[in-house]
Assembly symmetry: C2
Homo-oligomer: 379 residues x 2
């Protein structure tokens, strides 16, 4: 138990239904420990395995899922006692956060839990990187998203368009948020972010804020009646979860505009099928119906781009492209195999910004409208 | 001249007074070239020198300023012809942006200007890092901020509090912006962001978004009637310029809550006196009246923190601390010399998040209120 469980006035925070469920799971974990002790048995925790070997692609759901493999952590096992202690400690910390109605970063939780174990010179956690995997263990063990444990990541990504939502009690009209748009929080669960009304027809998700800004400045979302999002590169959980909610709750198609390079392919893959690391989150984040709008390997010719915009593929790129082509969810898709082959054949990659060489607003006025009209997407 | 200067409908964009001034400066540069040519003289551009030797601390204004040193770039000089061409090219690109009423990122400008020079196999710019310094040269040569050249950086930093502003025509009430707050744009000039009304008594600037979020969640800004900002670490230009405007236009004191480490000291120094790299921006960004609220080297004892939160200083930290102590603007300040000495004597640094080990809301409910009440700041 951490030393500091000072009661504050917010201890009486009103718990949401989800909070109660999460607290129930944490208490269940603790009850097991007590029962083991009372029966004179050695306590343990079974943590679902997050290794690659326990991850598989579910062909019918078309998402990456975890298997049923588990790792047992026992208290009376010298090799496991430390991680057993840390697992229960993270559970205790999250319980405290939920009861107080507060949230913190993973850095904050680390400081909340870090202390010298009484009567020893041993620290509960030596460094942040010892704490982070235990947090992920707790998520899969309790089947609770990080957000449900009251932990958040940095805000990243922005959104603009004809949608009004309520975030923490404040009504937000995403069509009137100035030049920066609505900053997508890392926690966008319905308890925090509630959709009120919208008139959007689809979501256009772009990779980078610089591209997003071009679309926002050109009022693309107004002309095309869509919601415009970006994830600052690889979209963080908050952005993925937001896209998931926009797609499933509001029935909006999601189109992705990403760089023509292995990193862009990977981002698409994560949005669509989920990632290996966060396989346990796929069903709440992955969008198998997402579509890849561009850039495509044949855009160089099709758009008659100047040779100046080519960026040579390096060895790492080629290797990565090969790996992605082997992914179960790309392997049987001929158009994707052709797409990746053509990039390697080209010998270069293309950033979305490369379209600026045609005209600063070519991407918003010609490229994307044409792709949308043709319905020319990769699946 | 770049090949692509396609006229679009936005060419007729309404120019602001500032746009007209910037265009005037760019035209002045071009006119000089024409006159040189007409008189049969070799054209050149004089670019203020951005080297350390041309930077000084202005004791009376208490900001870092550029000196009068200049570097000449001549067209008919083999060593300078390329950078001469690039300088004029960047000027041309910015002129196009201003005339079209559009903005772009430095990546976007790079693509806008990159092309193979006719009749050669030479590229105007080989890579982004060849373009970036030329943009900074253009800023100092024209005495125009990057934003005035219609170039922007990534949005970083957020703001919340009792202030209403208009951003790109949208009215933004910063007290009703949800959990993420108002995302501070990289361009916050009065033409883009206009202050409407406010009731704030001061600005509290914190280093990181995770700390900012604790303050926002605890509604610190409501209890203390202040504006709360963060800069995501080293604050980018937009955040610094916003703080500058809040301080000078609204007469709000600015207090900084930063880590007790050399990096925190450096951030404070940049907010207060400006940076060597961007010395030419100091007078529009530096706030000599800013105050350092914490963390202080004696907080470890004063707040009775647990030894677990200490982070050992490494060699780099100690070296950096020594350099900062030598800065002209720290060198004659005894309290700062003592502050830095004590950190080195401690042998450890402290993050603001370390206060969480006392209680999750210790920083918002006890630490900062006590410092504000005592008026205990470093100058």
């Amino acid at each position: 138990m951490p030393k500091k469980t000072k009661k504050t006035t917010t201890d009486t925070a009103t718990l949401t239904a989800k909070d109660k469920k999460t607290l129930g799971s944490i208490r269940g974990l603790a009850d097991d420990v007590v029962q083991f002790a009372e029966r004179g048995r050695a306590p343990y925790v079974d943590v679902p395995s997050r290794s690659l070997s326990n991850v598989r692609f579910n062909q019918s759901k078309r998402i990456i899922e975890m298997g049923t493999g588990k790792n047992r952590r026992e208290l009376f096992n010298l090799a496991q006692a430390r991680s057993y202690m840390q697992t229960l400690l993270v559970g205790t910390g999250c319980k405290q956060l939920i009861e107080q109605g507060k949230t913190t970063s993973i850095r904050g939780l680390f400081y909340l839990l870090k202390h010298t174990i009484e009567g020893t010179s041993e620290e509960t956690f030596d460094a942040q990187d010892e704490c982070d995997p235990v947090i992920e263990d707790m998520e899969v063990t309790l089947d609770a998203m990080r957000e449900e444990l009251h932990l958040y990541a940095k805000n990243a990504g922005a959104m603009v368009g004809p949608i009004t939502l309520v975030d923490s009690g404040d009504q937000i009209d995403c069509s009137r948020m100035g030049s920066g748009g609505y900053s997508i929080p890392s926690i966008v669960e319905p308890e925090i972010v509630e959709f009120k009304k919208h008139t959007a027809k689809f979501v256009l998700h772009v990779e980078k804020d610089t591209v997003w800004r071009r679309f926002n400045e050109d009022k693309f979302w107004r002309k095309h009646n869509c919601i415009l999002t970006h994830g600052g590169g690889q979209p963080p959980r908050g952005v993925r979860r937001m896209l998931h909610r926009l797609h499933y709750e509001l029935k909006l198609p999601v189109y992705c505009l990403l760089d023509n390079d292995p990193w862009g392919y990977y981002i698409y893959s994560v949005i669509k099928q989920g990632s290996i690391n966060l396989a346990y989150e796929s069903r709440r984040m992955a969008i198998p119906e997402a579509r890849f709008l561009g850039l495509r390997s044949d855009d160089y010719k099709r758009c008659q781009l100047s040779p100046s915009v080519q960026i040579r593929l390096n060895e790492q790129d080629t290797k990565r492209a090969g790996q992605i082509a082997q992914y179960a969810w790309f392997a049987h898709k001929k158009p994707w195999q052709k797409e990746i082959e053509l990039m390697i054949e080209n010998g270069f990659k293309l950033e979305v910004e490369a379209l600026i060489s045609k005209d600063i607003s070519y991407v918003t006025e010609e490229y994307v409208p044409a792709r949308l009209k043709e319905g020319n997407f990769l699946d």
